[in-house]
C-alpha cells in the first residue's frame, strides 16, 4: 500500500501533504511513497519539517487514506459537511 507524508501547518494548523517539494492541502497532489520507511526518510530530509508540525506517514488507497481517522483528517469533520474540503481527487 502506498504512503503519503502528512503534517499540520505550523501557522494555521491545517492538514497538509508533501508533494516532494512543498506542502499542499490537496491529498491528490501528495507524493506517493512505496513504503512507510521511505516516507519517513523523506520526512527526515533537510527543510521538509520547517513550516509544519506533527509529520507522519499515512497509508493511502488510490484516492483516499486507508484509515477512517486519516480520511476524516483529510476531509474534515463528518458532522460538518459545510466545513469539509475536497481532497483534490
Amino acid at each position: 500500500m502506498p504512503f503519503v507524508l502528512k503534517a499540520n501547518d505550523l501557522r494555521g494548523g491545517a492538514v497538509l501533504y508533501w508533494t516532494g517539494s512543498q506542502w499542499t492541502p490537496r491529498l491528490a497532489d501528495g507524493k506517493r511513497f512505496d513504503s512507510e520507511e521511505a516516507t519517513q526518510q523523506e520526512a527526515a530530509r533537510d527543510g521538509v519539517r520547517l513550516t509544519v508540525v506533527d509529520v507522519y506517514p499515512v497509508a493511502v488507497t488510490d484516492s483516499s487514506p486507508a484509515s477512517l481517522r486519516e480520511r476524516i483528517n483529510a476531509v474534515g469533520p463528518t458532522v460538518r459537511p459545510d466545513l469539509c474540503r475536497s481532497t483534490g481527487a
Binding site: 492538514v15 477512517l68 469533520p77
Partner: protein, 545 residues
C-alpha cells in the same frame, strides 16, 4: 460575579504578552516544536485533527453577557463561527490559527478570561452546580468556594507539575448537579446538626479508563480550614502519586492502592502539620469574595403566577426546562444545545451573542454553562418566560428536552479529537433523530445518554443511564453499550451489557433497551430505577437474545 482585581488582570495580561513572544519565537524557528509544545499547552492550545484547538476556561461555568458576547466574537473572528461547550463547563474552538492565538487571548483577557490551566498536570477549571446562586434547594452559593479554590489553585507553585491532571467539583445541595463523586476532589457544602455550614470532602473519584466513585474521607470540615485541607490532599497526592505510569497517576489510583483509611490518615497528618501555617483565609476574606456573588436586585414584587402561552409547546418547555428559583417570582431556564440532529454543545456566534442579549434583558446579564453541555439563564422572572422562550425558539435552542433521551452528552470524538477511536457526535445525532418524537421522549422520562469516543471518557459514558463507548475494532468503529450509570447524588458506574455494535447496531440496541424498560417499568419509575430493580438480565436478553 467575580471581577478581576489589578493583580488578576496584570497576571493574565502578562501571560498574553509572554505567549505572544513564545509564538513569535516558534514561528521564527528559534523554538523547536518540542520546546514550544509544553508552552502552548500551558495556554490551553492543543493540536487536533484539523487545526489547533483552544480550550478556554469558564470558571465554575459562570459567564457574564459581556463574556459570552466575546466568546461569540472569537468564534466569528478566529474560528469558523461556532464553539463547543464541554463537559468541563468550558468552551473549545476547533479551528484556531497559531499565528492569531495571542490576539485571541488578548481579546479574552479584555473580558477577564483566559485559557490558563485548561491543559497539563495541574488543577483544572473548578466546576460546580449550574444553578449556583439561584437554585431553590441551595445551602449556600458554591461559586464562593469555587472562586476561592480558583485563586488558590491558579499558578500554585507547588501544584504546577502534579503526577496528572486534577479536577475539583463543588456542590451545595443534596441534589448533585456537579457529579462531585466522579472528581479527584468532590466538595459538598452541607449543614451540620446545628445548622453550621461546612464541607464534606470526597477524594479519588473519576472516569477515564479506570472509573471510580470517590469515597468520603472527611464528613465535616469547617470553613475556616477549607484551603489547608485541600492543600493537604494535594500534598499527599503530589508526594505519593505515581509518575512512572500515566495510566495509574490519577489520585483515584493512589486512594485505591493505599486504601481509603491509610490515604485519609496521610491527609489528616499532613493537615495537622500545615493547618496553622496561614494557608487558610479568614472570615473577612471569605466575605469579601462572597460579596462578588451577592444576589442580583430581584424585583420583590415579581409575579408568582405560573406563566402561560397560547402555544402548548411553551407548556412542555416550562415543565421540562424551567427549574424552581430561590427568589419568589423567578425561575431558572435551561437552554438546550441539543436540537434534534444537532451537535451536542455547539453554539454559533450568532446564538452566543443573542443569548448574551437575552441574559441582559431577562437574567441580570448572567449565563451558566452546564456539564451536560447546555446553557442556563439563572434568574428569569416568571412573567418573562414566554418572551424568553419565543426568543430561544427563534434561535433554535428551545427544545424541551432537558434530561430526556435526546439531551445527550457527547465528546467531540473522532470528528475532531486526536485521542478518539470512534465518532461520538453522529451516534448522538442518530439517537436524537430515532427518538425525535417528543411525546415518546416525555413518556420515557428522565433518561441520560452519554457517549465517549475513547476510553478517556470525556463524554462521561460511565455515568450514563445508558452509556456508549466508541472503540476501534481492527480499524472499524465499534460501540460498547453500558447501562446503569449516574453522575447525580445516587452516583453509580455503568456496566457493559455485552458485545459491541456497529454504528447502526448501537442505535437499534439502545432502542431495544428503551423498549424493554417501557415493558418492565412500574408507574413513574425512571429508567435508572428500573434497571437497578430488575438488573441487566432482561435488557441483555432483549438485546442479545
Amino acid at each position: 460575579m467575580y471581577q478581576y482585581d489589578r493583580f488578576d488582570q496584570a497576571i493574565v495580561d502578562a501571560r498574553v504578552d509572554e505567549f505572544r513572544d513564545q509564538v513569535a519565537r516558534r514561528l521564527s524557528g528559534e523554538l523547536t516544536e518540542e520546546q514550544f509544545r509544553p508552552l502552548r499547552l500551558l495556554n490551553g492550545l492543543y493540536l487536533q485533527m484539523h487545526a489547533y484547538m483552544l480550550r478556554v476556561a469558564i470558571p465554575y461555568g459562570t459567564l457574564s453577557s459581556r463574556q459570552l458576547r466575546m466568546l461569540g466574537h472569537i468564534a466569528r473572528r478566529y474560528d469558523r463561527n461556532y464553539g463547543h461547550f464541554t463537559t468541563r463547563q468550558n468552551i473549545q474552538y476547533n479551528w484556531i490559527k497559531l499565528e492569531e492565538c495571542a490576539d485571541l487571548l488578548a481579546d479574552l483577557a479584555s473580558v477577564e478570561m483566559h485559557a490558563i490551566q485548561t491543559s497539563g498536570n495541574v488543577i483544572r477549571n473548578i466546576t460546580t452546580d449550574q444553578f449556583a446562586g439561584a437554585g431553590a434547594d441551595e445551602i449556600e452559593d458554591p461559586r464562593i468556594w469555587s472562586e476561592i479554590l480558583r485563586q488558590w489553585s491558579t499558578f500554585h507553585p507547588e501544584f504546577s507539575f502534579l503526577p496528572r491532571k486534577f479536577k475539583i467539583a463543588v456542590n451545595a445541595t443534596t441534589v448533585d448537579r456537579a457529579a462531585i463523586k466522579l472528581h479527584d476532589i468532590g466538595v459538598e457544602i452541607a449543614r451540620d446538626a446545628h445548622g453550621t455550614v461546612g464541607f464534606k470532602v470526597y477524594v479519588g473519584g473519576g472516569m477515564g479508563r479506570t472509573p471510580m466513585i470517590a469515597p468520603l474521607i472527611r464528613d465535616w470540615l469547617p470553613k475556616s480550614h477549607f484551603l489547608s485541607y485541600m492543600e493537604a490532599i494535594l500534598r499527599v497526592y503530589n508526594r505519593y502519586g505515581r509518575r512512572d505510569n500515566m495510566y495509574k497517576a490519577r489520585i483515584k489510583i493512589l486512594v485505591h492502592e493505599l486504601g481509603v483509611e491509610a490515604f485519609t490518615r496521610e491527609v489528616e497528618a499532613e493537615w495537622q502539620a500545615i493547618k496553622d501555617r496561614g494557608i487558610d483565609i479568614d472570615a473577612a476574606e471569605a466575605e469579601r469574595i462572597a460579596a462578588y456573588f451577592a444576589p442580583p436586585p430581584f424585583d420583590p414584587a415579581a409575579s408568582t403566577a405560573t406563566p402561560t402561552h397560547a402555544d402548548p409547546a411553551f407548556g412542555h418547555w416550562l415543565k421540562q426546562n424551567v427549574s424552581p428559583h430561590k427568589a419568589p417570582g423567578y425561575a431558572i431556564a435551561t437552554i438546550s444545545l441539543k436540537p434534534i440532529g444537532g451537535i451536542p454543545g455547539d453554539a454559533s456566534a450568532e446564538q452566543m451573542e443573542a443569548i448574551a442579549d437575552l441574559a441582559d434583558s431577562y437574567s441580570f446579564g448572567d449565563i451558566r454553562v452546564t456539564h451536560a453541555q447546555n446553557l442556563v439563564l439563572p434568574h428569569v422572572r416568571l412573567i418573562d418566560l414566554p418572551a424568553v422562550w419565543e426568543a430561544l425558539r427563534g434561535l433554535e435552542v428551545a427544545d424541551a428536552n432537558l434530561d430526556l433521551i435526546s439531551d445527550i452528552i457527547a465528546c467531540p470524538g473522532l470528528d475532531y479529537c486526536t485521542l478518539a477511536n470512534a465518532r461520538s457526535i453522529p451516534i448522538a445525532q442518530a439517537l436524537a433523530e430515532r427518538f425525535a418524537d417528543m411525546d415518546r421522549q416525555r413518556d420515557l422520562g428522565e433518561l441520560k445518554i452519554k457517549i465517549s469516543g475513547c476510553i478517556n471518557a470525556c463524554g462521561h459514558h460511565h455515568a450514563g443511564h445508558i452509556g456508549i463507548l466508541g472503540v476501534d475494532r481492527k480499524g472499524v468503529e465499534n460501540y460498547q453499550l453500558l447501562l446503569g450509570g449516574s453522575g447525580a447524588e445516587d452516583t453509580s458506574l455503568a456496566s457493559i451489557l455485552g458485545p459491541g455494535f456497529d454504528a447502526d447496531g448501537i442505535i437499534n440496541a439502545v432502542e431495544t433497551v428503551v423498549e424493554t424498560y417501557r415493558k418492565v417499568r412500574t408507574d413513574g419509575e425512571r429508567f435508572l430505577d428500573t434497571y437497578r430493580r430488575v438488573g441487566a438480565q432482561p435488557f441483555k436478553e432483549a438485546v442479545y437474545g
